[in-house]
Symmetry: C2
Subunit: 407 residues, 2 copies
Amino acid sequence: MRAEIITIGDELLIGQVVDTNSAWMAEQLNVYGIELYQITSVHDSREHILMALNEAFSRADIVLTTGGLGPTKDDITKQVLCEYFGTHLIEDTRVRAHINQLYKERPDVLNRLTATQWLVPESAEILENRVGSAPLMVFHHGKQLLAAMPGVPYEMKIAMEEQILPYIGHTTASILHKTLQVTGIPESSLAILLEEYEQSMPASLHLAYLPKDGIIRLRLSAYGDLSEAEVQQWFERLKMLVSGYMIAETDEPLEVIVGRLLKERHQTISTAESCTGGKLASLLNKHAGSSEFYYGSIISYDNSVKEHLLGVPEEVIQTHGVVSEEVVRVMAESVRKRLNTDFSIATSGIAGPSGGSETKPVGTVWIAWATPNGTCAECFHLGKLREQITDRACTKALVKMIELLKK
Amino acid sequence: MRAEIITIGDELLIGQVVDTNSAWMAEQLNVYGIELYQITSVHDSREHILMALNEAFSRADIVLTTGGLGPTKDDITKQVLCEYFGTHLIEDTRVRAHINQLYKERPDVLNRLTATQWLVPESAEILENRVGSAPLMVFHHGKQLLAAMPGVPYEMKIAMEEQILPYIGHTTASILHKTLQVTGIPESSLAILLEEYEQSMPASLHLAYLPKDGIIRLRLSAYGDLSEAEVQQWFERLKMLVSGYMIAETDEPLEVIVGRLLKERHQTISTAESCTGGKLASLLNKHAGSSEFYYGSIISYDNSVKEHLLGVPEEVIQTHGVVSEEVVRVMAESVRKRLNTDFSIATSGIAGPSGGSETKPVGTVWIAWATPNGTCAECFHLGKLREQITDRACTKALVKMIELLKK
C-alpha cells in the first residue's frame, strides 16, 4: 500500500512555516505498514492543487492532504476537492452541532465565516475533528482514497491518530526499520567497515547513513520478503560490526536514553548552562515523566549569575576566562550540590557570531560532567554557526552522559 | 523567475528527519525575488529522482536539489544527475585539493570512499563547498539550471548564501511580502473585520492568515505590478484596521521583539521556569546579541529547587499548590531580585500527560511578570498536548512582555 502527502499552503513555499507535519505523518504511516512515496508542497492555488492531485493519484493508493481548510478566503482546499471529485457543498447538521458545542463559551467565534465550516462535500465521508472546526473529509476514488486534514499540527495529529489511521487500517505488508546510533567514526570509514556486510545483504534490505551533530544513525530497512527474525539477525550482525562506536541500539533521542538510564537507577540530574542557554534543560524535560529524574537548572548567561548563583570566583573567571575547564568544573559541581542531584552537566562556550579570539575561536565549548565519583571536563570545537554550536554541544553533553551512566 | 526544490532522501519519507531546509531556502529565494513553486521530497531511488526532475523542469526555470551527495552507497544523486544530463564522472583536482586540505588533521577520513567525493560530472560547473566534502554542482539545461547541494542543513545554508544565490543572482521581478501579527481575536472574526478590505484589493495582492499558538500572522503578498509604495499604502490600511489587536508590525519572532525593546531601553530580563523548563530561556538567548539583555534563568522543575533557589515557602506550595498565582509571583520576584534584572517572567503549569486534577486540568498554566513597577500574573488554559502547552505558554509570556515593554 502506497501513500503520498500533499501539503497545501503558500506559507510553506515562502518559508514562513517549516513543514513538521509530513515527518510525523510519515512515521505513523510506516508503523501502519504503509509506504510513503512522495511529499509535495503546493500553493493555495486551484490549478496547482488539481495538478498535484492528478500526479499523486497516478502513483499512490492513498493521498493525504493537509492545510487550506480554514474559514478565511485564502483557504480553498475544500472547494478544489469538490471540483476534483465532481461534488458540491451541503450543510452537515452533525458538524454544525459539533461546532456550536466547540465554541459554546466563545460566542464571538460563532460568526458567518465559521458557519462555512459546516458546509461539506456531499460525496465525502465526514470524520469528526474533535479539537477544531474544520471537518475531516474522506473521498473514495475507485479503489483509491483521499483524506483531507487541517494543517495546524496538533489538529492534524489528533485527526490522524483517532480517525484517519484507524479508518485506513493496518496493512499486511511489513516495512521494518531498525536503527542504531554510532559516534566517533567518520561516515566514510564506517561505510568501509560495513562494505562486506552491505554487499552480502539481500536486495530487500537497505542500509542508510544519517549523520547529524557528530552522531551517525544507521538504519536497516526491510521491504517485503524477510521475516522479522531474519531482519533481527542482520541487525545483530550490524551491531557486532559497529560495537566499538555504538552509543545506542535504538533510534531514541539521546535525552530519552539519558532519562531512561537515570530512572532505572533512581538517580537525578541538573544542568548549569551558559552557551547552551537552557537548550539542554529543555531537552531533558521535553518528554513526559521527566520530573522523575530532572530537578532543574541554573542558566548563567551573564557572568554575574555564574558568580552569585554558581559560586564561580571572580578571579577564576579573570585568570582562566569564562570559557575554561576551571569555570565549567565549578559550575557543574556547584549546580550538582545546590540542586542536590546525583549528576550534573555544565556548558560554557563561544556561540558567536562575536566573542571569539585566536586561542578560543567561535565554536570553542567546554563541558563538565559532575558525578558521584568525581568530575570530568572536555573541550570541543563545534563549528561556526550559533545554532549548530549549541545543538552539537547538547549532543556531546548527552553522549558522554550516556557513557558515564553505562559505566 | 520560478524555482522548485527537490529534497532527496529516504529519511524524509519515513519521518526520521524533518525537512527544515526547504523553508529556509524558500525564504532566501523570496528575498532574491524568485518564486518557489513547489517542494517535492523523493526517495533515494533512480526512477523517483528522474521522474521528479522531469516534472520540475516542466514547470520551473531553476531546480534546486538537496541530499544524496554523501560518500556512502545509499547516496545516488550525483550518479542520477549524470544520467539525466547525459554526462559522466571525472576527477576534479581542485576538489581533490580542497578535500585533502579539509581533512588534513583527520587522516582517518581520507579513505577510498572519501575519494569518490572528488569525482564530479564532466558537464557540471563545480562550486566550492567550503565546509564539506560534497562538491556543489550546477547543470545547465537550455535556459534552465539545476543546482545540487548537500542535505546537511548548515552545509546547505553556507552553499546557498555564498555560492548558489549569488550565482543565480537577483531577479528584477518583485515579490513583496509584508506581515503583521495580531492576538486576541478569532481567525474568522478577523476575516469578517477585513472582508471589505479584502474585496477591494487588486488581483495582484493576496492576504493570508497564519494562526499559531494564539497569534495570527497576517501576510500581505504582492506579485507583480504594484509599486512598493502602493503595497505599503495597503499595508498601512491593514494596520489601521487591526490596530486594536496588533502585537507586531513585522514577522519578527516575539522573542526578537522583546530583545529589541529591551536593548533600546538598556534593560535586562531573567526567567524562572517550571513547566516551560528552559524553553523560554532558550528562546530569549537564541539570537546573536542576546547577552546584552538576557542574564539567566532558574529552571525549577522540582519543588525543592523552587524552595531553595527561588525562596518559595513550602507552606505557600502546600496551601495554594505549585501551579498557583502565589507561587509564580514569588518565583518571578525572586529571580528578578537574585539575578538583578529589570524584568522577569515565571511559569508554573501542568504540561501533562499526568498531574492534572478537576480544578487544575492538564494545560493550566500560571505566568507572572515582575517589572520595575510591580508584578502581575495571569492564568491560562493552553490545551491538552505537552508540547503545545509549553509552546503556547512561551507565546503568552512573550506577548504580555511586549505589551508591558511598550507601556
